[in-house]
């Protein structure tokens, strides 16, 4: 408890800021927690509260702790770190909250403070450095890794590794991940390297710029390809600005806000001449839309970020809003839809992708209970907090209907995690991106692909 002196000091408003234990710049925003009246409506929405039953692992508990550090009741230490980093940043609480408290923003800001006060060391630090600083922001390194993975899969080495049980020396959650690694194809940024504008197939109605994503383009280039097909089929000329980079979502989630700002600036510049920025990864889209948050203390860049974020749109919403051709070919499949957190909770996009899917002839959609419950992927959460991620995934899989062929969604992180869930729980479903299904329907209509 606070000492008598502290209690006295607190009565003097001039002293409240000096009591704060957030010492670095860019600290958690008081106006965000001032909205929280501690009503508890967020509790049941939180996957980590569902699993632990403990309020320090609930949204209002975390907000309370973050506030307590600012009030000087708590210090910025290891014990505080645990609840703040165990948050999935899934934003389900933001949807549940009657007062629109931005819990996600507060968590990210608090993580920024923790990381500045206590830089990561040991294995976690090394992993974070390799992935977040050494890999994601560097397209050529990612491409090389992609080539390596392609070689690994194509050369037969994958088979050898799996057969020889070499894989057993990897930690279990990485083994699970290896097993569901998608087949790696050529990135679209490489493929369209020398093309300025990928022209619309029919009459050009507008020009849009496309964010390829960093990992997305290496691991899921077929989804990027499908996105470009679907866009060009619906009157969009597509450009792929050359200087674009990783969106920085994972860095901001991990508390590396400086790197986040650096990447944000590069993207804001890279898309300067575009009117519309189309994104097919919910996590990236949400991060781009929240760039202004990173520049709260920098009016010049804040304005630029505001301008930029207004241009960002998820591909499903863009198609829904601007109109798209309803495919004529029938796909004849039963699917279910998983709401990616950063699409449903982060961007409020729920109906648009469902509309796209339901308009494909022959697609029957089975309702998934709690479809907007996090799958546990949460950026690289499944690498940093494997145990919790796995428990969250198990809860998710219980809600996936048995009698469907495919699970559709709009985020690559979820796709990997759900694929892992399908494998772990002995299920058979294919994991697909919403635009992939649409693209398949178009292809079938054109007599190209038969599914």
């Amino acid at each position: 408890m606070m000492s008598l002196l502290e209690a006295e000091l607190k009565k003097d408003p001039a002293c409240t800021t000096s009591l704060s234990n957030y010492l670095a710049k860019d600290h958690p925003d008081e106006s965000k927690w001032a909205d929280c009246v501690h009503c508890g409506m967020c509790l049941e929405s939180c996957p980590t509260y569902e699993i632990t039953g403990q309020e320090q692992h609930s949204p209002r508990g975390r907000v309370h702790l973050i506030k307590s550090v600012a009030e000087g009741r708590l210090s910025l230490n290891e014990q505080f770190m645990d609840p703040v980093f165990a948050c999935l940043d899934c934003r389900a609480c933001t949807t549940a909250c009657p007062a629109d408290v931005e819990v996600g923003g507060l968590i990210e800001e608090a993580r920024g403070q923790i990381r500045q006060a206590m830089p990561l060391t040991g294995v976690k630090g090394a992993v974070s450095k390799v992935f977040l600083q050494g890999l994601f922001p560097h397209q050529n390194r990612l491409n090389k890794l992609g080539s390596l993975l392609r070689f690994y899969q194509k050369s037969g080495m994958q088979k050898v590794v799996r057969k020889s049980k070499l894989i057993n020396i990897m930690p279990q959650h990485l083994v699970d991940m290896e097993a569901i690694m998608p087949e790696v194809k050529e990135p679209v940024r490489k493929k369209y390297k020398d093309v300025n504008v990928i022209k619309s197939k029919g009459e050009t109605k507008r020009e849009v710029a496309f964010l390829t994503g960093c990992v997305m383009d290496v691991m899921f280039s077929d989804i990027n390809e499908a996105s470009i097909n679907v866009l060009t089929r619906n009157g969009n000329d597509v450009t792929i600005p050359k200087n674009q980079t990783c969106c920085g979502a994972l860095h901001v989630h991990a508390g590396d806000r400086d790197m986040g700002r650096k990447l944000a600036k590069q993207n804001i510049e890279a898309f300067k001449d575009s009117d519309k920025v189309i994104v097919n990864a919910a996590g990236c889209g949400c991060a781009l839309k929240e760039y202004p948050e990173l520049f709260r203390d920098d009016p010049e860049w804040h304005e630029k970020a505001e301008e930029f974020s207004a241009k960002v749109e998820d591909i499903s919403k863009h198609l829904y809003d601007t109109g798209y051709e309803i495919p004529k070919a029938e796909l004849k499949t039963r699917i279910t839809y998983h709401d990616a957190c950063h699409l449903a909770h982060g961007q409020g996009i729920r109906q648009e992708p469902r509309d796209l899917l339901l308009n494909i002839p022959g697609v029957e959609m089975v309702h998934m209970p709690n479809s907007d419950r996090c799958c546990g992927s949460a950026g690289i959460y499944n690498i940093t907090n494997p145990e919790m991620a796995s428990a969250v995934l198990d809860n998710k899989m219980q809600n996936v209907p048995e009698d469907v062929e495919m699970i559709s969604m709009g985020n690559p992180g979820c796709m990997l995690q759900m694929a892992m869930g399908v494998q772990k729980h002995g299920r058979t479903q294919k994991i697909v991106h919403t635009v992939q299904l649409l693209d398949w329907a178009y292809q079938k209509e054109d007599g190209k692909g038969e599914r």
Partner: protein, 488 residues
């Protein structure tokens, strides 16, 4: 044998951990405990000694016995959404959190009852039985997350209690751990209205001062065949209040009859679930009727007529289930929504005769003017249950105290017109002193005497429900002196 992963030398914590048998079932670091220093009532805060998470009744009994044997104060907590501070560890209690005991144990459709553990969330019961056409009636606004155990402790109400009654009308049996660790069952057969004293009635609403409920048998109801909902906007609060009285006088028993005033409307419209209420009206009524399809349209027409006679600006029925859902989400998140227009709020819970509504609302307006604090009103108008929400900013020195004063004045206003100080939120810490508005000292002592039968050492949730114990002792002493004076 010490539990693996526990890092403390405190022998009580080591022993409590041993009872639950798992390092994840106890928290004791200050950083984690801060999340438990208050519940939905945030004006009092105190750190608990520890929070333990029992898995079953036997765990609860062993924890309680340990606390009792070692004279450690303790209390039970569910989701911590209570609005009167009933789960705040005022005395540095060991909190026994029941959230891990969250199973639906059985459902007996034939006899219309279900058995749940105390940590089971209210709305989950309805969700679990709705496919068979049943539901659990008490619906506090926090039903998305509050636990049925907590509902029993507070005798929770809700929007639809006007027609269906509050929690106590739906409890058929309880398993209770008494403050000495003994496990008892009341109404074990789940048969309503058993002979003998109504112990279920005594336990329900005892605010966690008589025992810890570990198993609950509740009544479940068949879904009404149909529901219809009407929204009415009034330019004058008086007209809205009169319409409420008229509807009830007309012989209609609505399932719910809710009202929000101008400030409340500003809050819900600025928050997460706006529905487009006009900003310049003084009152909105949300009226729901349910029952057999055949008679409902007639009732709705009657309600529309009543509203028109009372100068309603606009009145209409929900066009579909989606619209009905939006209206209710807007109303049910009303308290939390105040966060959108004020950093803090204090919600009061007075009850008044319906006919006094305009008078009390005027009085509340005056209290608001005098205190300089805005007061929003959201209330279950049908049963005269007012919820004045005092809006304040705890960061401004002196405002918290002012808010408490204003809240208390609102309750005085209710008591003055023959009402009472709480309808469904409980007394807790918040309204301890206000108990004097409605009870004499003798009446309060009669009640603490009952508590002493169950909870003689007052280790369980001390300092709640009745005026400060120190004062009670004084009163008792005074009374005894008086008695001796009289007899001599």
């Amino acid at each position: 044998m010490a539990v693996k992963g526990i890092k403390t030398t405190d022998r009580h914590i080591l022993n409590l951990a041993n009872i639950v048998g798992d390092a994840r079932s106890i928290i004791y670091h200050k950083e984690d405990l801060i999340a438990y220093d208050c519940d939905g009532f945030t004006l009092h805060r105190h750190l608990p000694k520890a929070v333990v998470f029992p898995n079953n009744t036997e765990d609860v009994a062993a924890l309680v016995k340990y606390c009792s044997d070692h004279q450690l104060p303790f209390l039970a907590r569910g989701a911590g959404t209570g609005l009167s501070g009933g789960a705040i560890p005022l005395n540095g209690e060991v909190i026994i959190s029941l959230v891990k005991m969250k199973k639906l144990l059985s459902v007996d459709f034939e006899n219309r009852r279900a058995v749940v553990q105390p940590g089971f969330v209210n709305l989950k019961l309805t969700n679990s039985i709705s496919d068979k056409g049943y539901y659990y009636a008490p619906d506090p606004s926090s039903q998305y997350c509050c636990t049925i155990g907590g509902n029993v402790a507070e005798n929770a109400g809700g929007a639809h209690c006007l027609k269906y009654g509050v929690t106590t009308n739906h409890i058929l049996g309880l398993e209770v751990v008494l403050p000495n660790g003994e496990i008892i069952e009341i109404g074990a057969n789940g048969i309503p209205d058993e002979p003998g004293y109504d112990l279920l009635g005594l336990l329900t609403g005892s605010e966690g001062t008589l025992g810890i409920v570990t198993k609950i048998t509740v009544r479940i109801l068949k879904n009404p065949e149909s529901k219809k909902t009407v929204l009415a906007y009034f330019d004058k609060v008086e007209d809205g209040s009169q319409a409420v009285s008229d509807i009830v006088s007309a012989g209609i028993v609505p399932a719910a009859l809710e009202m929000m005033d101008k400030t409340a409307i500003e809050g819900v419209e600025a928050a997460a679930f706006p529905v487009g209420h006009p900003k310049d009206i003084e009152a909105v009524l949300l009226i729901e009727v349910d029952g057999i399809e055949a008679g409902l349209d007639e009732q709705i027409n009657q309600i529309l007529d009543v509203c028109k006679n009372r100068n309603v600006r606009e009145v209409r029925a929900a066009k579909d289930e989606a619209e009905r859902g939006r209206w209710w989400a807007n109303r049910k998140t009303g308290f939390g929504a105040m966060g959108a227009i004020s950093p803090d709020y204090l919600v009061q819970d007075g009850v008044i005769p319906r006919s006094k509504l305009p008078e009390v609302l005027n009085k509340i307006n005056k209290i608001s003017e005098e205190s300089g604090l805005r007061i929003a009103n959201i209330f279950h108008a049908g049963d005269g249950n007012l919820h004045p929400l005092v809006l304040f900013d705890a960061r401004i020195p002196g405002q918290s105290a002012k808010a408490l004063e204003a809240g208390s004045a609102c309750l005085q206003a209710c008591a003055d017109v023959g009402g009472t100080i709480t309808g469904e939120h409980g007394v807790g810490i918040e309204k301890r002193e206000e108990m004097r508005f409605v009870f004499t000292d003798e009446e309060i002592i009669a009640q603490t005497d009952i508590r002493e039968v169950f909870n003689p050492d007052n280790l369980l949730n001390a300092g709640k429900l009745f005026p400060m114990p120190g004062r009670c002792v004084e009163i008792k002493r005074d009374l005894k002196e008086k008695e001796t004076a009289i007899t001599s």
